[in-house]
């Protein structure tokens, strides 16, 4: 698994990093920690190193906090692998430098410049991330530093799954909403990992419209319930009218992770106006996993 953690200097990013550390300790994922210094980028020119910017210190702190998670245990990210590598010094000049790499799994820390949401999406594509993790303010705002709609843009446009962490709360259950028959294997596996790591049960909600549910979606709901039962994950299933879905979700306990499957045939996509995902993500009180 490849995890991309995008963080800024705010407390919610530190909470999200804790979740990344927990995930990584169990999955031994390849992890990239990234930050974005926002502002216009002049292409074709060297970007000066932002010595005075607080973000590079914050990212260094995130690396240290991430590595502390192992507390003396054998870490797959421990730096044991010394070797010489050719690294660019400036345009047209390379230097053979002694570097130390992780022995088993990569932990990269990266700083990018430009539009925060677009840089996060760009990094996730280049690194072929399976999961993007980022924090945001809790409550109905769900924002990043400076009031930008970074989380909403990332969940709306990412190619991979996105975990949005709202606060430092234990996850006590997973609430997964199914409104279409196409479910990717990757998304099933992502739920497996979340349920295993947090040791929680799964509640599957099938969405119906005017009391009816499409046959193939209903069949898929049963199949998914069986899939998780076969894998010893406690699962319950219920049906909810799509028009009531938003209200149902709003009533759920704040420690339940809301998992939404997104796809081209999503009923929610047709029922709610454009960018409904961003709105749902904003309105839900706890963390949200958007799966693709």
């Amino acid at each position: 698994m490849r995890i991309l953690f995008a963080g800024d200097e705010q407390p919610y990013s530190a909470y999200a990093l804790k979740e990344v550390t927990r995930l990584a300790m169990n999955t031994w994922a390849e992890v990239t920690i990234m930050g974005v210094i926002t502002g216009p980028v002049s292409h074709g020119q060297e970007t000066p190193w932002p010595l005075e910017h607080p973000l590079h210190q914050v990212l260094h702190g995130y690396r240290e906090d991430f590595l502390k998670g192992w507390q003396g245990e054998d870490s797959p990210y421990a730096f044991k692998n010394w070797r010489y590598e050719w690294l660019p010094v400036k345009s047209g000049l390379w230097e053979e430098t002694l570097v130390c790499r992780s022995a088993m799994k990569d932990l990269k820390v990266r700083l990018r410049f430009g539009n925060a949401a677009q840089e996060i999406l760009g990094e996730s594509k280049e690194e072929e991330a399976d999961l993007i993790v980022l924090g945001c303010t809790k409550g109905g705002q769900c924002q990043w530093l400076g009031g930008q709609a970074v989380p909403q843009t990332v969940v709306n446009e990412a190619d991979c799954s996105v975990l949005l962490v709202k606060e430092d709360q234990p996850i006590t259950g997973i609430l997964a909403c199914l409104d279409q028959s196409y479910i990717s294997q990757d998304s099933l596996e992502m739920i497996n990992q979340m349920a295993t790591i947090h040791g929680v049960s799964l509640e599957l909600i099938g969405l119906s419209q005017e009391g009816a549910m499409k046959k193939d979606v209903y069949r898929r709901l049963i199949e998914i319930g069986d899939y998780y039962e076969d894998r010893d994950i406690k699962v319950t299933t219920r049906l909810t009218e799509i028009s009531e879905f938003e209200a149902v979700v709003a009533q759920e306990l704040r420690q339940q992770l809301l998992a939404l499957w997104l796809g081209k045939k999503s009923l929610l996509d047709r029922f709610f106006p454009r960018d409904w995902v961003g709105r749902f993500v904003s309105n839900y009180q706890a963390s949200v996993l958007v799966m693709r």
Partner: protein
Amino acid sequence: MSQNKLKILVLDDEPIVCKRLQPALEKLGFTVDTFTRSFEALQAVESSTYDIIITDLKMEGMDGMRFLTEAKKISPEVEVIVITGFATMETAKESFKKGVFDFIAKPFNLGEIQQVVQRAAAKIRESRK
């Protein structure tokens, strides 16, 4: 068929995983056999020589941990890559204690597993020089 072609065994009780991995690894020049039942896979390890084994952990019957232990007894040189949809710190540590080459949690993209398999192949080729 090239004499240098490394042979890989893939064991996962989910056929879709085998279906994805086989062409992705064959594209890199490996010979790939896939199995969805661990007992059948173990019989194959007994009757044939594999260079790399890719195995799931949680399976009905003989689980992946027991399978890799048995496979290593039969063929100590084989490099084992564990893939699991139910990763825990304990399974990761136990896997490494048993001498696996790498531990990969699902979901993974094909590029990730291709890279790991290439590293394992490089190690095997280096050891045979």
